[in-house]
């Protein structure tokens, strides 16, 4: 049965795409449609396989009880983001298709990897593919984003590798869940370096600094990918390493994580309050969301981690939604918050979806963002962190402030008419946005306590 792993589908798909690409070039037809539709088909197929059969244990990779859910929503988001990408423009090079599938594959492998080396490889797959995705349109803005992303990513990778080598030196094995004898000093040092290496991907302060710039510099769909799938993978890797691999690693991990999470939430929220550009605001908000998920992981117990996983799901969907929705308006040259009221003329559906997405990010019921926060607070309160919860309440006020300032700026102007034409492309995009919006309501069925 293990051959039915959705990851295999993706690998086979990539190979198939390469063959098709060669074949296409031979025929000199030059048409990319077939590649693009094939990519979509592969993603859909992988999604179908995933939800029907789930994942299976294979060497270096083992499934956990949440992995089917996480891989499922990663694939779901991948389908949404990729179809949006297609609806947006079809002129890009076919490399993007390969890279996209590889990135998704990497994210899925992160979720089920059970060894540091496989984890490293999976993360590298995401990173390498993301470089290409960020450099999507090869513009100067893209170059700047890619440059920052690559250099930070490279540094984080070497730190991660160094940390892994120390962990290996401390324990003698890199397999998660193996019994090990600990040489304490290199183990702790290695673990903290692993933490640093992984924190980059999940944008934890102070390792987040690339994120707003890269999010802003990239194409909207790529931003959606980075802020949802890629970040979710980074956070899941944290769960994998610190909760499942070294469950009782040491007391300092929990405290350290809480400090980092609080720093993330506070810093990102405060910076988000003063942004004028919508995309940058959303970028900072996405960082703050990661902080909330991280605080669940920090508890390092079952309720905290399951809350964190649901929270990751909730903000990944919402972030994908808002960045994709904003892409529609970005194309209509709406960059600053003060122009937000022109959005209505571009796409009403888009505005409503953006509205609901932001509500979910703020944590307003009945969206899954609310249930995510509910689970996080519940996990914190059942572990006795009352003061922490109160301080989170306070910081949530600031996030409410900037989210609602954005929503208020979307005040519909009755007399403004946009000259943007309503094309089929916009209709398809709106359909995708609606699908994601519905997920914000119906995703609640995946809540676990």
């Amino acid at each position: 049965m293990s051959v039915l792993n959705s990851e295999y589908v993706l690998i086979a798909g990539v190979l198939l795409l390469i063959v098709l690409d060669i074949f296409r070039n031979r025929l000199n037809s030059g048409r990319k449609d077939i590649i693009q539709y094939a990519t979509l088909a592969i993603l859909v197929l992988a999604f179908a396989v995933e939800i029907m059969f789930g994942d299976f244990d294979i060497p270096f990779f083992s499934t956990m009880q949440y992995s089917q859910f996480v891989n499922g929503f990663i694939l779901f988001l991948a389908i949404a983001i990729y179809s949006f990408l297609l609806a947006d423009s079809r002129k890009h090079s076919t490399f993007i298709e390969f890279l996209f599938i590889l990135a998704v594959l990497g994210a899925m492998l992160v979720v089920i990897s059970s060894n540091f080396i496989s984890l490293l490889i999976a993360i590298e797959m995401i990173s390498l593919a993301s470089y290409g995705l960020v450099f999507f349109q090869k513009s100067n803005a893209n170059l700047e984003g890619a440059m920052k992303y690559v250099s930070i990513s490279f540094l984080s990778m070497v730190i991660l590798i160094f940390g892994i080598s120390l962990v290996y030196g401390g324990t003698g094995t890199l397999s998660f869940g193996a019994t090990y004898t600990v040489n304490y000093l290199p183990f702790i040092a290695g673990l903290s370096l692993v933490m640093v290496g992984l924190a980059f991907k999940s944008t934890i302060v102070p390792f987040h600094m690339w994120a707003p710039d890269v999010y802003e510099a990239s194409n909207g769909a790529v931003t959606a990918f980075l802020s949802s799938i890629s970040k979710a993978a980074g956070l899941i890797a944290m769960v994998r390493v610190f909760f499942f691999a070294f469950p009782a690693s040491s007391a300092f991990v929990s405290d350290m994580f809480i400090i980092l999470a609080i720093a993330t939430i506070f810093f990102a929220t405060f910076l988000a309050t003063v942004q004028e550009r919508i995309k940058r605001l959303l970028a900072y908000s996405s960082i703050a969301q990661a902080g909330f998920a991280f605080i669940g992981i920090a508890l390092l117990n079952y309720s905290g981690v399951s809350a964190a996983i649901f929270y990751i799901f909730s903000f990944a969907v919402a972030d994908a939604l808002v960045f994709l929705a904003y892409k529609v308006f970005e194309d209509a040259k709406i960059v600053y918050k003060k122009d937000a009221s022109k959005m209505w003329a571009v796409s009403k559906v888009g505005v409503v979806c953006l509205f609901i997405g932001v509500l979910s990010l703020t944590g307003f019921p009945p969206t899954i963002g609310f249930f995510g926060k509910l689970l996080i607070f519940s996990a914190l309160l059942s572990n006795g962190y009352v003061y922490l919860v109160v301080s989170l309440f306070v910081i949530l006020l600031f996030s409410t402030f900037f989210y609602f300032a954005l929503l208020r700026d979307m005040n519909p102007m009755e007399n403004y008419k946009s000259n943007a034409k309503r094309t089929t492309s916009i209709r398809i995009k709106e359909a995708i946005l609606i699908a994601l919006t519905l997920a914000l309501f119906f995703g609640v069925v995946f809540v676990t306590f």
Binding site: S192, M195, P212, F252, D255, V274
Partner: protein, 582 residues
């Protein structure tokens, strides 16, 4: 009994909702309502004589305790309601003459509401209902006093009256609450019966609170200043409110709660307050030139008499004086109303120039003022005697002086207005002549009632040496008034004496009250600035944190190198924390 009090309310409802300003003779409805009420009250009084009837209604029940509202018909309450509806009827009839050309519906509906409230108050058998009507009386008097709202002074007077009386209302409410929680009942009779079993602190507290309520309603010192100002209202309003009804409600409250007052030992306090009030009222009345304000001060003084009677635990005397005062004071107000409408002036010295002596109004005025002075053989003389039934020697002596000065200022009014010039002929018509004549007749002959009053409430008429002496003092006062004001002898000594006292009492005291009011407002302004600052503090907090955020934006320099350094710093920090844990 409920229908009895509801009739005026029904009239008011009809006037406001159904009729509006369309009907020219809308007074007919109000008069009809009041007249039927009078008829019913008389019928009930006669039919249920010496028996007690109770109408009771459960207002609401809160977890077992019932809020009973009840109307109780006793000889006293029904008798008082006859008086109230009678005086109201007289005043309403007079209003047909006086209020011609004024907004009819507003006036008659407000009057009807007032009559409804007053009748309800008189008949209330539960403290709660008593309080309800007590407040309604206050509120409708506010509306009536401020009837000519275009006049700034009238509007201010209404406001002052309501605020001053509301101080007492709040005290009364507190007293009711305390009594209810100590006795578990709102019924007045049960409460009175329970008094001996209450702790003395509760008795003293409630007694004091009720006394404050009565003082504010009856315009006793230190609350009296609203009453003279209330003369800004139409004269029929003054005739109704400040004779038989509103201000008398305070005295009535004390009459009802005499057992409480005696248990609390508040009698001497009441007497001294009332004496002070009477003294101040006399001074001010001697000083005053406006006819209505003189009458207002005399009302304050008369109310003080009733308080003194209650202070000596002589409820019957107070009640009888209340009845007699109702008659002659409304008579006096109606007379002044006729004079002021005809001539448009309130100043007694300006009225003197009209040469009124010999006109038909002189006789009712004389009857009223002689009653005020307690001269025989008018009804008021008997009331004075009844009043003094329980006096001890010192009180009697003090009262002689009061009698003297009362006669002095009332006859000052008479002799100034009805002076040597004669010859004015006054027109009269049914609407003003009928009430005045009827009231005069009662004021003259009502003394006979004194002998029957005992069946309404325990009253003793004991003619003794002091009865005689007080008549002598009154006559002396009247004569000196004649000498000073009719014959225009020198008044400088009196002026000097009265002027000093009145300056002290009027300006000094009024300014204190004003200062208290201003202080509250100024405190309000201060607190409101504080509140603004508090409100701004929240905004400032938000602004500062936004500014802080804006200042921290340069942390994101945009240069990859600094991002790398941030990662290194973060890494070192993480490792330092880890090292600290190891």
């Amino acid at each position: 009994m409920l229908d009895l009090i509801l009739l005026p309310m029904l009239a008011a409802f009809l006037l406001i909702v159904v009729i509006g300003e369309k009907l020219a003779r809308s007074y007919a409805i109000a008069i009809a309502g009041c007249a039927i009420s009078l008829g019913m009250a008389t019928y009930l009084f006669v039919a249920n004589f010496n028996s007690t009837t109770v109408d009771s209604f459960n207002w609401m029940s809160i977890s077992g305790s019932n809020f009973l509202l009840s109307l109780t018909g006793t000889n006293l309450s029904l008798g008082f309601s006859v008086l109230v509806s009678f005086i109201s009827l007289m005043v309403l009839v007079f209003s047909v003459f006086y209020m011609r050309g004024e907004p009819q519906v507003r006036y008659y509906s407000q009057m009807s509401i007032f009559i409804f409230s007053m009748l309800g108050l008189v008949l209330s058998g539960s403290t709660l209902l008593f309080y309800i009507f007590w407040e309604l009386v206050g509120v409708s008097s506010y509306l009536l006093i401020g009837f000519w709202y275009k006049k700034e002074t009238a509007a201010a007077a209404g406001k002052k009256a309501l605020i001053m009386t509301r101080i007492g209302d709040m005290a009364f409410l507190a007293a009711i609450i305390v009594l209810f929680l100590s006795t578990g009942t709102f019924s007045i009779s049960s409460t009175i019966q329970a008094i001996p079993y209450l702790p003395s602190s509760i008795v003293l507290l409630t007694g004091a609170l009720i006394l404050i309520a009565a003082m504010s309603k009856s315009a006793q010192f230190p609350f009296y200043t609203w009453l003279p100002d209330a003369m800004e209202g139409p004269t029929p309003v003054s005739a109704l409110l400040h004779s038989a009804t509103m201000v008398a409600a305070g005295a009535y409250l004390l009459v009802v709660t005499v057992p409480l007052m005696s248990a609390a030992g508040l009698g001497p306090v009441i007497i001294s307050i009332a004496m002070i009030t009477a003294f101040i009222a006399i001074m001010l009345a001697l000083h005053e030139k406006q006819i209505k304000r003189i009458l207002a001060y005399s009302t304050i003084e008369s109310l003080a008499f009733m308080f003194i009677a209650v202070g000596t635990l002589n409820a019957g005397g107070a009640m009888f004086y209340l009845f007699s005062h109702a008659v002659f004071k409304s008579l006096l107000f109606l007379v002044s109303g006729v004079l002021t409408t005809l001539f448009g002036v309130y100043d007694i010295y300006l009225l003197r120039a009209r040469k009124l002596t010999g006109s038909w109004l002189m006789w009712p005025a004389f009857i009223g003022l002689a009653s005020l002075a307690g001269l025989p053989p008018f009804m008021s003389m008997f009331a004075h005697v009844a009043l003094a039934a329980n006096f001890n020697l010192y009180e009697n002596l003090a009262f002689l002086g009061i009698d003297f000065f009362t006669a002095l200022f009332s006859f000052r009014l008479f002799f100034v207005v009805f002076n040597k010039g004669r010859g004015a002929r006054l027109e009269s018509e049914m609407a003003d002549a009928f009430p005045i004549i009827l009231l005069s007749a009662i004021a003259v002959a009502g003394g006979a009632l004194a002998f029957y009053f005992n069946s309404i409430i325990q009253t003793t008429l004991s003619f003794g040496p002091f009865s005689l002496l007080s008549v002598v003092a009154s006559v002396a006062g009247a004569y000196i008034a004649y000498a000073l004001f009719y014959q225009n002898r020198s008044t400088s000594i009196l002026k000097y004496f009265v002027g000093a006292a009145s300056r002290l009492a009027e300006h000094g005291y009024d300014s204190i009250i004003k200062a208290v009011g201003d202080a509250v407002v100024r405190l309000g302004v201060m607190v409101s600035e504080l509140d603004d600052r508090l409100s701004r503090a929240f905004e400032l907090g938000a602004d500062y944190s936004l500014a802080l955020s804006a200042d921290s934006r340069p942390i994101q320099t945009g240069s990859a190198n600094s991002y790398i350094i941030a990662i290194i710093i973060g890494m070192i920090a993480v490792m330092a924390v880890a090292a600290a844990f190891v």
